[in-house]
């Protein structure tokens, strides 16, 4: 197995597994519970695992070396901008009654933007230096 992937699984694997398990468990359980406070509490079951996952990702980022930190932070900044533009566009379309968007769409947009930003920044550092300028020159 790739050493980077092995390290990622060791750092964030338990938190991610707990997250997915708690999301699936909470969704299945929520359908069997009567609407009300109990259902709200059941739907919030994944929240602690989200916080654990966030802590795992941040502590992993802080342990990385400076170039990797820079790549991650740049990807997060680009992902934020991308998801912001998409979500704001969807909000305007919804305000204009063009169509209705579910709140869960925002999570998907954020995840997709983060993956796209990671690919863009990693590719830029690996292949595009010299063509679109050295990333270090922008410091």
């Amino acid at each position: 197995m790739n050493p980077q992937l092995r390290r990622y699984i060791a750092d964030c694997g338990p938190a991610s597994l707990t997250f997915f398990a708690s999301v699936i468990g909470a969704m299945l359980l929520a359908k069997r519970v009567e609407p009300g406070l109990t259902r709200v509490l059941v739907c919030l079951i994944p929240l602690p695992s989200v916080l654990w996952m966030t802590w795992a990702e941040i502590s992993r980022l802080r342990r990385r070396d400076e170039l990797r930190q820079r790549i991650e932070v740049e990807a997060i900044a680009i992902a934020f901008a991308m998801s912001f533009v998409i979500v704001v566009t969807l909000t305007f379309l919804e305000l204009g009654n063009a169509f209705s968007v579910k709140v869960s769409t925002v999570s998907l947009v954020m995840a997709a933007s983060w993956i796209a930003a990671q690919i863009i920044v990693r590719t830029r550092f690996r292949y595009w230096c010299g063509i679109f300028g050295n990333p270090s020159d922008s410091k």
């Binding site: 400076e66 990797r68 230096c129 990333p135």
Partner: protein, 40 residues
């Protein structure tokens, strides 16, 4: 420090921070200006 970072510094794709540059200079027991030349 990762292999990716070492490779990026060697190929000029990434300029290390001053603390890291001093650490590299100390590791090779060389003055910093001998290892990192801006015009190179």
């Amino acid at each position: 420090m990762s292999r990716q970072t070492i490779n990026a510094i060697e190929t000029g794709k990434y300029d290390p921070s001053l603390p890291l540059a001093f650490l590299i200079a100390k590791l090779f027991k060389q003055p910093i200006e001998k290892i990192f030349d801006h015009g190179a």
